[in-house]
Amino acid sequence: MSSPVRNGRIRMFNLAERLTHGAAALSFVVLLLSSASMMWSWARWLMPVFGGPRWVALVHVWAGYLFTLALVVALLGGFRSWVLRVLRWGPNDLAFVRHFLAVYFSRHSYADAPPQERFNGGMKAWSLVAIAGGLGVAVTGLLLAFKGSVGHAGFQVVLGLHVLFALLLTAGVIGHVYLAAFHPEARQSFGSMFGDGTVSLEYASTHHAAWLEEVGVKPQRAGRAGVPERAH
C-alpha cells in the first residue's frame, strides 16, 4: 500500500466534502447576513449588498435552496461513512468531549486528549448539531417558501420555529468558525477545507493520531498541537 502522505501532507477532506461544505458555508453566510439585514434595524445597512428591499427576501429564499441542496447532497452522499464513522462513539471520543471546553479555551492542547480518528469527538458532536439544526432551518424555510402548504396559522407558527432554528444553528456556527478559522491549534483546518483538503502530517499527528494509525502512517512525536516544533 502506497503511503497517503505527500510532501509531508495528508488529505483530510476530499473534493466532494469540500464542495458541499463550501456551498453550505457560502449559502449560510448569505442567509445569515440577509436575514440580519431584514430582522434587525441595526443591520439594515447590509441590505444593499443583497439588492436592497427589492431583492433581499428573494436572495434569502434562493440562498436557502442552495443550502438545502448542499445539505441533502451531503446527507445522501456521506450517509454511509457518517453512519459507519461519525455515529460510532468510542471511549476516546467521549474523552475528547470531556476535554472540549479546556481545549476551546486553549487551556488544554489537542495533544492532551487521547488519539482521535479522522473525526474527533467534537467534530462528531458538531455533525449531529449541524445536521439537526440544518434540517430544522431548511424544512421550516421550505414550508415558508411554499406557504400555500401550511395556511396562515401554520405559517405563523413555522416562522417562529424557523427563526429559532436559525439562531440556534448560528450559535453553533460561531463556535465552529472560531475553532476552524481562529483557534491557534485548529485554524490550519480552515485552509485545508477551503484549499486542497490536505493537512500537515504534524497536524494530523497531534489532532488525529488514531486516523493516521488506521491508514498506516506513523504519527510524528506529539508537540504542542499544530504548532511547528522549534528547530534545535
Binding site: 431584514m38 416562522l159 439562531l167 450559535a171 460561531i174
Partner: protein, 265 residues
C-alpha cells in the same frame, strides 16, 4: 395628534362604487377588467391595484324577501395592527392619528403582513415584490383633506373626522335605527383594540357582512417575538460571548507558552 377615523354607515350605502373609483383615480391605480361575478359586485376580491371595493351580498329575510347588503371593504386600520407588529422593515407603521400607513420603498415583499392580518387585507404582487393596501389617503389627510373615497361618497355613508366624534355619531345612529326597529350595532372590534374604520351594521352577525367569524389578534406574534426569537438570540449571543472569551483565553495561554514546544500541565 387626535386620532381620526372613517365611519361607514351601511344603512346609507347605495352600492354605487364611487369610493372604488375615487380610490383608483387618486392613487392612479390601473383599471382591472374582470368577468361577471354573478352579482352587482364589481370584482371578486381586493387586489394589489384595488385597495377598496364594495362587497355585495344578498340575504333572505324572514318574510321571504331579499335584503341587499353593500359593505365597503379595505384595510381596517386596527388600533393594534398585527401587520405593523410583524413587518420587519417598518414599511407598515401606525401613525399617531391611528392611520396604518404603508411605505412601498421599505417593503421587502416578505408577506408577513399578508399571513398575519386578521382581516386578510394586504395583497402581494410578485412582479413588484411588494404588497399594497389602503393607507386612508394619509397624504390627503396631512393636507387637511378627507380621504378620496369619503370625498366621493354621494350619500354620506362614509364620513371622516376625529375618532371620538365619529364614535359618538355611530352610537347615536345605532340608537336612531333601533328606534326605527332595526337591530343595528357598531362594529369596532375589541379583538384588535378597535379599528379606525368603524361601521354601523344593520341587523345580523358581522360575518354576514364579510367580516371574519372569530376575529382574533394572532397570539403567534407573542410566541415568535417574545418567545422563540429572544431564546434564539440569547443562545447565539451567549455563544458569541463565550467564544470571545475563548479567544482572549487563547491569547493568554499562548503568551505563557511562547515556544510552542512540549505542552506541560
Amino acid at each position: 395628534m387626535a386620532e381620526v377615523s372613517i365611519l361607514v354607515d351601511i344603512t346609507k350605502c347605495i352600492g354605487c362604487k364611487s369610493c372604488e373609483v375615487a380610490c383608483k383615480q387618486w392613487w392612479q391605480l390601473p383599471a382591472e377588467i374582470a368577468s361577471w361575478t354573478g352579482s352587482y359586485q364589481s370584482h371578486s376580491d381586493l387586489s394589489y391595484n384595488r385597495w377598496t371595493m364594495v362587497l355585495f351580498r344578498e340575504k333572505e329575510t324572514a318574510d321571504g324577501g331579499v335584503d341587499w347588503i353593500f359593505r365597503k371593504e379595505q384595510c381596517m386600520h386596527c388600533q393594534k395592527p398585527a401587520c405593523v407588529a410583524v413587518c420587519p422593515t417598518q414599511a407598515l407603521a401606525r401613525r399617531p392619528d391611528g392611520i396604518v400607513d404603508y411605505d412601498p420603498a421599505k417593503c421587502i415583499g416578505c408577506q408577513y403582513c399578508v399571513e398575519f392580518c386578521p382581516f386578510d387585507v394586504p395583497r402581494y404582487d410578485a412582479a413588484a415584490n411588494k404588497i399594497s393596501k389602503c393607507n386612508m389617503c394619509a397624504d390627503r389627510v396631512d393636507a387637511g383633506m378627507e380621504p378620496a373615497c369619503v370625498k366621493a361618497c354621494p350619500t354620506d355613508a362614509l364620513t371622516f373626522g376625529p375618532r371620538e366624534k365619529l364614535l359618538a355619531g355611530a352610537e347615536a345612529r345605532v340608537a336612531e335605527l333601533k328606534e326605527a326597529g332595526v337591530a343595528a350595532q357598531v362594529y369596532n372590534p375589541e379583538a384588535v383594540g378597535g379599528t379606525h374604520y368603524v361601521y354601523v351594521l344593520p341587523q345580523g352577525q358581522p360575518s354576514e357582512f364579510g367580516f371574519p367569524e372569530n376575529l382574533r389578534y394572532p397570539s403567534t406574534i407573542g410566541l415568535w417575538k417574545s418567545g422563540l426569537q429572544p431564546v434564539g438570540e440569547g443562545v447565539a449571543a451567549l455563544s458569541l460571548v463565550v467564544t470571545l472569551a475563548a479567544a482572549a483565553s487563547a491569547a493568554f495561554f499562548n503568551r505563557n507558552r511562547p515556544d510552542g514546544g512540549e505542552h506541560h500541565e
